[in-house]
Amino acid sequence: MNNHRIYMDNCVTTPVAPEVLEVMKPYFLEKFWFPGTFISTGEETNAAIAQFKEIIAKALNASPEEIHFTSGGTLANNIALKGLIGANANKGRHIIVSLVDYPDLLTNAAYFEKQGFEVSYLEPDSEGWISADKLKEAIRPDTILFMSTVVNHVVGTIQPMADYKKVIETADHKIFWHLDAGQAFGKMHLDVQDLGVDTLSVSAHKIHGPQGIGALFVKKGTKLSQLIHGVTRVDQLQTGGISIALIAGFAKAVEMTFSDLDANISYLRELSNYLLEKLESTIPDIELNGPRGDKRVCHNINVSISYIEGESITMMLDLNGVTVATGSACASQGLKPNYVLMAMGKNHIQSHGSMKFTLSRYNTKEEIDYTVEKLAEITSTLRERSPLYQAIHNKER
């Protein structure tokens, strides 16, 4: 266990699968051509891209022409959101998002507000869940866009997509719906036909594909105003060059994840249940953030460890070869407690002591055993140093 790093921050990014790297190689060295017509090199790339698109479309139950490649999930979100708003600004000035959505959506919402749009921010319950009733209440005659995140990136809460669909479909007028599915893709079944969304973003590097490539689903007939202007090489929405090798790697990662999605999901579910059980039975004064069971995505466990601070915990785990994340203000670039936990009604101490474990198919129960063992030692060391713990402990004595 000493020689290899245990990585449990897979909601941020994941290692590329060796098979993915292999598939990518020839597209860097030999078959690096952009699409083209009438010449064999360009035609070969056309055919390859069509095949890769087919694979990604199939994973989402979309048709290939509805899939657009982008240089990552954030670009996909920006192309969709600014494109939808640009094309529909004359129809209304109101947008709906929630307080716990992915930063891509919230920073776009703030940008739209500066542009003069009005934004309603839906509040989550104590488990980070946003009911469809709240969406219904927020809708106004001038609402043009609802943006949401399928799976919360901090606490793993799965939002009620089917209920949202009913609300959107029964509204008096057309409301465009964009979904960020970055955390959900490869962790649950996503069917764009069932979901009923207009646009949806996914990313390769969350499922052991390469960094720097993502895809945007745009429902047939949906108009987006152009965000990126330039020469069309690979895709008309993100003009300019997009790496064919990355697209090939993305398709391979999708193929590997979706060849037996149910088995992948159940392995991750089993691992995260095991992790939670171990944490709760080993470390006293620990609480789960977010829902328990099926309302939570299969690879996320987020807990608050009372009386101690998260940066100290993550640094000590790091020195023991384990990578995890914390919601502590001390460890954030802006010195602010985690906004998702705070919106859920957690206090500063719960946020500072929060630890997020996000697992991948490469994690094992042995790694979990080692991690929890180290975490238990670290917790006890830091609690010995903590005035908050000592105050409670002394009272009890």
Partner: protein
């Protein structure tokens, strides 16, 4: 910027950690809300005024724990007057520097030491409880670090005006709305000043709000 090896050593194996039974003085600074809280305990020789023992507890990050560890080393064996000269700049130097965003944690640790010394002096009739006034406010503002550069806001001339009258504090800060640290600084000022019972209201003004 990363933590230095000295910071990591003191963080992993801090000196003088724990509670001191029968301490002659103690102080707690910071709060869980701001992410860091430090308690320090002093054992002082009543004749020589030498700090014979010192211990700390920390609810905080690595830089906070490391700074508390190193300044308790520095203070141990010194007289109260000597220990009063310990600054956060000195602590940082001993630690081989800190990332600018982490300097405030070092300030908190040194501040706790100074408060414990002050509490000892007040309890033993060595000094009067200081009157609260504009000078107290300025001293507190010197403990507030602008995270982008790791220096205090007085030194950086970010404070344009300080006024105090009958519980009312007015502070004009030279920080624009696009400054990502503006809310943090304002929050920290409120936190530092609201611990004084004399303060009834704090008004912080910016050029563009």
């Amino acid at each position: 910027m990363q933590y230095s090896q000295t910071v990591l050593d003191h963080f992993m194996h801090p000196h003088n950690v724990g509670k001191l039974d029968n301490a002659d003085a103690e102080a707690t600074e910071g709060s869980p809300a701001c992410g860091d809280q430090v308690t320090m305990f002093l054992k002082v020789n009543p004749e020589t005024k030498v700090i014979e023992d010192i211990k700390f507890l920390s609810y905080g990050c690595a830089s906070n724990i490391a700074t508390a560890s190193i300044i308790t080393d520095l203070a141990k064996g010194k007289t109260l007057d000597e220990a009063k000269q310990i600054t956060w700049q000195q602590a940082m130097e001993e630690l081989g520097g800190l990332p600018p965003i982490k300097v405030h944690c070092a300030v908190l640790a040194v501040d706790t030491l100074q408060s414990a010394i002050s509490n000892y002096e007040i309890a033993h009739g060595l000094k009067e409880v200081p009157n609260f006034g504009k000078d107290t406010i300025i001293e507190e503002l010197k403990k507030i670090i602008y995270p982008k550069v790791g220096e205090d806001i007085i030194n950086l001339k970010m404070v344009k005006y300080v006024g105090y009258n009958d519980g009312e504090v007015i502070i004009d800060l030279n920080m624009m709305s696009f400054d990502q640290w503006r809310d943090n600084i304002a929050e920290e000022i409120r936190e530092h000043l609201s611990k004084y019972p004399e303060v009834k209201n704090i008004q912080i003004n910016f050029p563009d709000s």
